[in-house]
Every structure is written in C-alpha cells, then in structure tokens.
C-alpha cells in the first residue's frame, strides 16, 4: 500500500513537472514585445507593387546587404501621412519628421560575433528568401517579437517549437541549423567562415 502511494506521489510530481516544462516554461522564457509600428508586408507588396523582397531589402552589386530599409526609403512614400491609422501617424510624426530611424525588432538578428553574407547564400547557393525567413514576406500583420529572457535573442533563432521536433526547415537559425543545411548541401565552412 505504501509503495503504491509513493509511486503515485512520484508520478504526480513527475507529471506536474512534465506539464509545466512543456507548457508554462516556454511562456515564461520569452518576453513578448511589440514592434514600434504595424508594418504589413502584404499591403506593401499589393499596393506599391513591390513584389520582390530585394525591392526594399536591397542586395548591392558588391554583395553588401542593406538589411531593413532605412528611414529614407520609407520617407519616399510616407513623407506625409498616407492614411489615418495610428501607426501611420507614429511613423510620420515620430520617426520621419524628426529623422529618427525606426527601432525595429529584428526577428532574425544574429549575435555580433557572427557575420552572414546574403549575397553568397542567394546568388551563389541559389537559396530563396523564404528558405530561411519563411512566409515573412506574405504577412499581413506584424508578429509579436518574443525575446529570450536569458540569452536576449529572438525566438526565431531557436525556432518556435521548444523541442525543435517536427519543425519546418525555416523555423530556426541556430548554428546547428546552419551546419545541418551546409551538411545537406555538402558545403564545408570553417569557423572563420561565419565567426568574426
């Protein structure tokens, strides 16, 4: 009787830990932050005809990647308010008029000790943007930016599945993900290939 009771209590403790570890822990680990503006990729591609990613995320002829377009690009169309939304007012009054860059929270931002060449991956390896960034370009509303409380990185780096099991190929940008992709494609890169 005592043995069975002990087993039950052990099982309850174990069950509670498993449930907490799989459900509450991921929620507690990430802090949810909103982007400074509501940016809609879909609206921009539909209304302005900018259907290609590199229309705004420019990849220069010398391989230099422009990243998120600067304020000058936004001001090309939004020098004055286009529409009446709150975000539009924030963009024009809060950033464009005072010439202050928008402090975007970058989902795919890598640590400072890593460099990544978009030119090599898209031009030489022929990868599509969505191979790493998923359907970001089709989003009709900005995702919540989830920041890891301990490492400070975006959740997109680890991937949305905490166990990393059964995740989509573009879900995750850790060093292991880079290594896996390189291994699959039989491309060997040493430490200094990515690390500064």
């Amino acid at each position: 009787m005592t043995g069975r009771r002990n087993l039950l209590i052990f099982g309850i403790g174990m069950g509670l830990a498993i449930v907490t570890g799989w459900t509450a822990f991921p929620r507690a680990l990430y802090v949810r932050r909103e982007q400074p503006l509501e940016f809609h990729h879909k609206t921009h591609s539909e209304k302005s005809g900018l259907t290609q990613c590199d229309s705004c995320h420019v990849l220069g002829s010398d391989g230099e990647f422009g990243g998120i377009p600067g304020l000058v690009t936004c001001a090309g169309c939004h020098a004055e308010k286009v529409g009446t939304s709150k975000s539009e007012a924030t963009l024009v009054d809060g950033y464009i008029k005072p010439s202050r860059e928008t402090p975007w929270l970058v989902y795919s931002r890598q640590p400072a000790n890593v460099w990544f060449s978009h030119a090599i991956h898209t031009r030489r390896a022929g990868l599509a943007c969505k191979d790493c960034h998923g359907t970001m370009g089709e989003s009709d509303q900005p995702r919540i930016y989830e920041q890891n409380r301990i490492s400070g990185y975006s959740r997109d780096i680890w991937g949305h599945s905490i166990s990393r099991l059964g995740r989509a190929p573009h879900d995750g940008m850790t060093m292991s993900d880079c290594e896996d992709c390189h291994r699959r494609r039989n491309v060997e890169v040493g430490c200094l290939g990515c690390h500064k």
């Binding site: 052990f10 403790g13 830990a17 907490t20 799989w22 301990i150 490492s151």
Partner: protein
C-alpha cells in the same frame, strides 16, 4: 490524506525526474551558455545602418588599401581592396582584425605620469617647461607624413632635434643611400621584374614589405613549380615560413651573413661571373666556408645558381652593408629587377638634424615601436595607443587608435613607385585621447595643422600631373579636375601612384668590400635600433591564423 514530509520529498524527486523529460534543463543550459558570451561588460558595436568605407591602413608604413565595414559609425570588419595597385586585396592578419584593436584591454585612455593618473594640462605644462629649459627631441616612427612636417616645424622653431626610427626594410636600403647620396625614401625594390630573389634572412613571405605584393608575385610565378619563373633563394639558419616555401633554402650558421656575402662575391669575381668590377673581399672562399658552415662547393654552386636566372636581386633583413655590396657587384642597382630610384620628389626619410649632446625632453610619437628606448637621459613624453608594458616613459600619453586620426600615408619603403594615400578618421576620437600633433599645436598654435599639410601635398601631386589615381575606377592624374577633387578622392580611400622608375638614375661605388655584419656606427641613437618586423600585439593572432596564405593557395 495527510501529506507528510516524506511525500513532499518523493513528489520533488518525481518532479526532478519529470523535468529531465522536458526541454527545461537542455534549453536553460543552452541559453545560459549564450548569456555567458554576452556579459554586459563585453563591448558590443551599436546596431545600425551598415556602410562601407575605403581607406588606407595605418598600422604600419605599408599603407595597404582597406575596406571597412561600418555599423552605426563603428568599424565591424576590415578587408583588403582588390583594386589597390600595390596590395591587390591582401592584408596582414593584424589588419584583418584591426577594428578590434581599439577595444584591446591595453588601450590607453588616460594620461599617466610616473605610473600615476595625470592630466593633459599637466603634461602640456611639463613639456612647455622642458622646451624652455633645454633642447628637446621629437622621435618619429614613420617619417614623411604630414604630421612629420609638424614635428620638424616644431623642432626647428624650438631649437630641437627631429629624429626618425627607420623600419628594418628602410634600414636595409640605407647602405645604398650612403653610397649613392639618394635618400632612403627614394629607393625601392623592383621585384616585379626580378627573376631570382636571394633573401638573406628577410621574411619575404612572412610579413616583409607590403603584404600581398611579394606573396602575390610568388603565388603567380613560383608556388609549386619545380623550375619557377621567379626563384626565391632563402638563406637562413632556421626553416622559417619563407625558407619552407622558397625554391631553395640554404641553411647557414646564425649571424654569418657578411661572411657568406663575401664568399659569394669572391666566387663571382674570381670566376668572372659578373661584368661589374668590384673590390675583392679579404675573406677567402675557404675562410668563408669555414665560418658559414657551408662547403666551398656549396658557395660556388650558390653563386652560379644566382647568375642562372637574371635579373637577380639580394634582399637583406637589415642594413648589412656586405649584403648590399653584393647587389652592387651583381649590377642590381639602378637596373630593372633590382634596387631602383622612385620617380619624382620623395620626402627624405633620414633627417640631417644632429643629436644634441644632452636632451632635456623627448617626445616619442605613437608610430615609434614600443620597444624603442632612446639612449638619452631625458624626460620622455611617450605617445601610444596601447600600453606595451613595463616602465618606459615618464609621461604616457594616450594617442588615437585605429582609424581614429586623420593622417596621410606616403610611399611604402620597399615600393618601387611613389604612392600617396590619406587615411580618414572614420571613428570619433575617444574622450581623453589626442595625437602628438594636436598636443604640439596646443603648445604652439602657430604650428601647421595636419589637414593643411595634406591639402598642400594633394596640391603638389595635382600640379605634378603624373601617375594615376586608383579609386573606384583608376584614372590618370591628368584627368583629375582639381587639387580639391584629388584630395576628395584620396580621402574617400583612393591611392595616388606615380610613374614607374626609370633605370640608371643613380650610381653606387664601392671603394673596398665591407665586412661589418651591421651598418657602420650609427649617426644617431634613433637609427641604431632595429625594430621587429611584426608587432608583438599580433603574435597570437599571427600564429593561429591562416589568413596570411597567398590568394592562389587559398583558392586551391
């Protein structure tokens, strides 16, 4: 049901076992390990717009073209510039990581006097007082720059002495300057037209001269070939990187370069392998063989091999006149593929200032290697960006680091063509840091500003209408609209390069065969010192890096 302490312990044990089946321990381990890489005290570059700037490297006097990746106005990466006419995209390992140097733990950020914190005002007052009390000396590590003009002007006005510390490469050219009267800065090596290079211990594939220039030549004309177009014969006691890759490595005893040169000269003269008449060395072949550790046949064979594939030029590791004399004998002076004189006016490197018997104070520029220790009992004002350790100066004054100062880059010592580049101050000067020129201008505001000297030099180059400007697209100097446009181009990272040398413009004559292993007694305490070829700061990076492999081999 009563919950006992035992139940709690069993439940906890179950929870611990359960946690092992969740991502908690593994994810926490991963995140904590990342957290340890990002401690708040580790400097991080600001995140912001990325732009590329072009400039000239100022870590040494080679002035390699650099492409600097800037993020939010901070340099985050340095690479070579392929279109640069001299360096062709190559850089030394230190330059590849030079953007990190400003964050080096030994970076100087405050004035120190006798090991204690002091202020710029105190340093200025002390130097001003010294100027009034007796002769001063200013020591420059890279003569010929705009800031060198400020130093010279200051010493002229304040009854001082301007002195320069020459690099090993410049010192190797000093004997030719002594014999011909042509300034060291006007001399260079025409390596591109040479077919045999005999290096007496000069690390030609390992940091000698302008990075990329010789390694590029070697990879194109020599690497891996049994009978290469360009033969490199390395004479050295140990199997250095240059020796390991040379076409032939001649192993000799340490410090017998002059004896070997004399032995080679004797064979060349006795067997009439050279047309140039020259003084016969006093050392016989047998004596030379005994002292060098080589067999007489080996010295004879080496002499024949040198003459097989001409033009041949001999490169010394320092100012050994016996090795330089070998070039005179070989007819490798003022001829293509040998020692040549650059075209046009080049700022002389060796100043004529006599060294006063007693010096009250000495200002040492940050370009002077840390190891330099002048043999003078003077109050030392030492400018340096990084503390090299030890107690070397009364006053330690923090100087601008990498890319923090506007300066110009005159011709590299080994180059056969005159060049001129401007290194812009791409990074804001940290608080509490100033250059030696700024320091002197504060003491004497009548001194010329570095900007004005650079402006004047750009004007001189423009008016000479010679050479080409290598920027985004190379253009002839004659096609540049104005001196201002030329200066703008240079400030954006372009480099001006003069015309190729014309042979036969100077003459070296030997009255007797020099036997000293080193340069004849130095005329000043500054030139007597032989600087190391590579800065000590780079040692670790240098040893662990493969970045210095020549381009052809990297591709392979």
């Amino acid at each position: 049901m009563k919950v006992t302490r035992r139940d709690l312990l069993i439940g906890s044990a179950g929870a611990v076992a359960g946690l092992a089946l969740t991502p908690v321990p593994w994810k926490l381990l991963n995140d904590v390990s990342i957290w340890t890489q990002n401690f708040p005290w580790i400097p991080q570059p600001a995140y912001g717009p990325v732009e590329t700037k072009y400039s000239a490297c100022t870590l040494c006097e080679s002035g390699c073209g650099i492409r600097v990746r800037m993020a939010e106005k901070f340099p985050v990466g340095v690479a070579g510039v392929r279109s640069h006419p001299l360096t062709k995209g190559a850089l030394c390992p230190l330059a590849f990581a030079a953007h990190q140097l400003n964050w080096h733990p030994r970076r100087l950020r405050e004035v120190r006097h006798a090991g204690r914190a002091a202020s710029w005002a105190e340093a200025q007052a002390a130097f001003q007082k010294a100027c009034g009390e007796g002769p001063i000396a200013i020591v420059d590590g890279r003569p010929g720059r705009a800031v060198s003009s400020v130093f010279e002007a200051f010493t002229r006005k304040h009854n001082g002495s301007y002195q320069a510390v020459l690099s090993a490469e410049s010192q190797a050219l000093a004997p030719y300057a002594d014999w011909s009267g042509v300034p060291v800065a006007s001399l260079g090596y025409d390596l591109e037209n040479a077919r045999t290079i005999v290096s007496f211990g000069a690390p030609v594939l390992d940091g000698w001269g302008t990075p990329g220039r010789f390694t590029q030549l070697w990879s194109e004309r020599a690497a891996g070939a049994a009978d290469p177009q360009l033969r490199l014969i390395q004479i050295e006691p140990s199997l250095s990187r240059s020796a390991a890759r040379a076409w032939r490595w001649v192993r000799v005893r340490e410090g017998i370069e002059a004896q070997l040169a004399a032995g080679l000269a004797r064979v060349l003269l006795e067997e009439r392998l050279v047309t140039q008449p020259g003084p016969m060395p006093r050392l016989s072949l047998a004596e030379a063989a005994a002292q060098t550790g080589l067999a007489p046949e080996a010295i004879r064979d080496l002499s024949h091999t040198m003459m097989e594939n001409r033009p041949v030029v001999v490169i010394a590791a320092d100012g050994n006149p016996a090795i330089a004399a070998l070039n005179v004998l070989l007819g490798a002076v003022a001829t293509p593929g040998g020692i040549v004189r650059k075209r046009g006016e080049v700022q002389p490197h060796v100043p004529d200032d006599p060294v006063p018997e007693s010096i009250r104070a000495m200002l040492v520029d940050s370009t002077v290697p840390w190891e330099f220790a002048a043999q003078a009992n003077a109050e030392v004002f030492r400018f340096a960006a990084w503390d090299g350790g030890g107690d070397r100066a009364g006053w330690l004054l923090p100087a601008p680091g990498f890319l923090e100062e506007l300066t110009d880059v005159p011709t590299s010592p080994t180059s056969a063509l005159p060049t001129y580049a401007v290194a812009q101050n791409l990074v804001a000067l940290p608080i509490g840091v100033q250059s030696a020129a700024q320091f002197l201008v504060k003491i004497d505001p009548t001194m010329p500003a570095v900007e004005k000297v650079i402006h004047a030099r750009c004007g001189e180059i423009f008016r000479s209408r010679q050479g080409s400007v290598y920027g985004e697209h190379p253009i002839a100097a004659t096609k540049v609209d104005s001196a201002q446009h030329l200066e703008e181009q240079l400030r954006k990272g372009a480099v001006w390069m003069g015309e190729p040398p014309s042979p036969g413009k100077f003459r070296c004559e030997l009255k007797e065969w020099p036997m000293e292993n080193r340069v004849a007694p130095a005329t000043s305490w500054a030139t007597a010192w032989v600087p190391p070829v590579f800065p000590a700061l780079a040692t670790k990076l240098y040893q662990e890096s493969n970045l210095r492999e020549p381009p052809a081999e990297r591709r392979g």
